[in-house]
């Protein structure tokens, strides 16, 4: 019954409509294969757009294209206060870190490395440390400052990465599989933080996920992706489309079993 509690209408109403991120005809070809074909996305600021799709649907490639890591055809633009720019400023929260968990990098090191020019290995000054605490405190992560990054739980790491992403003052926030490796409580806190953020800042949020049921209460729109956009709409519309559920249901919902119960209830 989560759909009834959905704040979609209220949140969309709050959107300023003066800013948005537009992606038009985005096509990615790699080695003769078309991975993504003519993707059109339009995200208003204050909106959270979820991109869902089965494995191999091109979700990660879409993220990488938006990040500028893979070459693409098509157009990406950001409209902020009536001014159009080619590439939006992006805050990126990666799904996982590819580094060695034993790495002696403290949370403070990571934040300072991202936001400061002064080399971390030279030592972090008291003033910088205060700054890091301030940045992290917004995301309930200031108590993690001396911990090693590899020791953090999934939820803690995610909040630190979100804090770092927000220091870039992004116009577009990209969340890669925010629900993987994070417990239910951690995820609720994370979504609450993102919800607060979009209220306070002019940002659009795109998240890529497997966990469709888990995020449906939190997002404004869902895009079902399978090389091209299969369906797009509010969570209620997408989740109540029988055809889609039959076609994509099993592959989308076999990942997290617990929230799936909620969805069945909602349908």
């Amino acid at each position: 019954m989560r759909f009834q509690n959905n704040q979609t209408g209220a949140v969309t109403g709050e959107s300023c409509r003066h800013c948005c991120i537009k992606i038009q005809g985005l096509t990615v070809r790699l080695g003769g294969n078309t991975i993504l074909d003519g993707i059109d996305l339009h995200v208003h600021c204050g909106d959270v757009l979820a991109i869902v799709g089965p494995n191999g649907a091109g979700k990660t490639t879409l993220l990488r294209a938006i990040l500028g890591e893979v070459p693409y055809e098509g157009k990406m633009s950001s409209l902020i206060g009536g001014v159009e720019r080619r590439r939006p400023r992006i805050g990126y929260v990666p799904q996982k870190l590819q580094f060695d968990l034993d790495s002696p990098i403290s949370v403070a090191d990571l934040v300072v490395a991202a936001i400061s020019k002064r080399p971390v290995w030279w030592g972090i000054r008291h003033k910088a440390l205060e700054n890091v605490k301030r940045v992290l405190s917004v995301f309930a992560a200031d108590n993690l400052i001396t911990r090693r990054v590899g020791e953090l739980s999934g939820g803690e790491l995610q909040r630190v990465l979100l804090a770092i992403a927000m220091t870039a003052e992004p116009e577009l926030l990209l969340l890669d599989e925010p629900s993987s490796g994070v417990d239910v409580q951690g995820l609720a806190l994370f979504y609450q933080l993102v919800r607060d953020l979009k209220k306070q800042h002019d940002i659009s949020v795109i998240l890529v996920t497997h966990d469709l049921p888990g995020i449906s209460a939190f997002v404004d729109r869902i895009v079902l992706l399978n090389r091209s956009v299969i369906a797009e709409g509010s969570p209620k519309e997408v989740l109540s489309d029988d055809k889609l559920i039959r076609a994509f249901g099993p592959s989308l919902w076999n990942v997290s079993s617990l929230p799936a119960v909620t969805v069945e209830g909602g349908l």
Partner: protein, 295 residues
């Protein structure tokens, strides 16, 4: 310049070994190059590039061989050219294929070593080149030391400019890219720097153990360091201490200096493993808060 160093050693180190010019030169070389190994090593270990640096070291053989074919007497430049090409190639390959980097590196390693040995062993002449396998830091010349000092400052400046970007990239390259860091440029410049340092060291410590000198101090430091500053600092301490100890001890033992240094590095590593296990417990007992030690 070098004269005042000799006088300084005479003044401060009135030991048996300190009276020889070759030992004074070697000591200066060790003091300059070991911190460089330590600092570069921290990133090599963090980025899991230990195998890559090993391949780099071994590519010296191919460099020497090509130098010989071209009739170049001093193999330093062919070696550096070869290693830099290799560094760039590996970086490009890493971006192109999704194949395991290990496999790609394995192929490069085989090719470099085989090419080197094949060319150098013509008419049974390989024995001439075995000095490049174990190196001889005691034969270091003041001119070579000047190069080491130059590379020391280059690495220092590089680390000041790119240190933070390297940390971020080692954690997640997409994250780094989203912070407008030019990841390819960064990684390529780092590997080129690494290639130059390794090649300048071949004559000093040899193909076989250059990798240990890069990897061991950082590996030892990781066993208990909890932040980047401690990691870097302890790696430098381990590197310099085992460098000086290895040099002096090799004088008395009459052994190859590079290998003796590595033995002491291994010693540091073993101690660090023990310290890494004991430290959290000791801290708990004495401070009651394990975070205190990390800052």
């Amino acid at each position: 310049m070098i004269e005042s160093w000799y006088k300084l050693v005479d003044l401060l180190l009135p030991f048996d070994w300190g009276q020889y010019v070759f030992m004074k030169n070697a000591l200066l070389a060790v003091l300059v190059i070991t911190p460089v190994y330590a600092v570069l090593g921290t990133m090599v270990v963090s980025n899991r590039m230990a195998f890559f640096t090993d391949v780099l070291g071994h590519s010296a053989l191919a460099g020497i061989a090509i130098g010989v074919l071209c009739g170049i007497h001093d193999p330093t430049w062919p070696m550096i050219t070869m290693a830099v090409i290799l560094a760039i190639l590996v970086n490009v390959f890493k971006g192109l294929t999704r194949a395991s980097t290990d496999t790609v590196l394995g192929v490069f390693l085989a090719f470099m070593v085989a090419l080197g040995i094949t060319i150098l062993s013509r008419q049974g002449g390989f024995v001439k080149y075995t000095k490049y396998l174990i190196g001889d830091i005691l034969a270091v010349s003041p001119a070579e030391i000047t190069w080491l000092v130059v590379i020391f400052f280059i690495v220092l400046i590089y680390w000041c400019v790119a240190g933070n970007a390297l940390i971020l990239t080692s954690v997640n390259s997409s994250l780094a890219r989203s912070r407008r860091i030019k990841v390819f440029l960064l990684e390529t410049s780092f590997t080129i720097l690494l290639a130059v340092v390794v090649m300048l060291s071949i004559r000093l410590v040899g193909v076989l153990i250059i990798n240990s000198l890069l990897v061991l101090p950082a590996a030892a430091s990781r066993n208990f360091a909890r932040n980047t500053q401690a990691y870097t600092l302890w790696a430098v301490v381990f590197s310099v201490v085992s460098g000086i100890t290895g040099l002096v001890v090799s004088y008395y033992w009459g052994t190859a200096t590079g290998a003796t240094i590595v033995l002491f590095s291994v010693g540091c590593y073993v101690i660090s493993v023990a310290a890494g296990r004991a430290l959290p417990r000791l801290t708990k007992i004495f401070c009651g808060n394990e975070n205190k030690i990390s800052q």
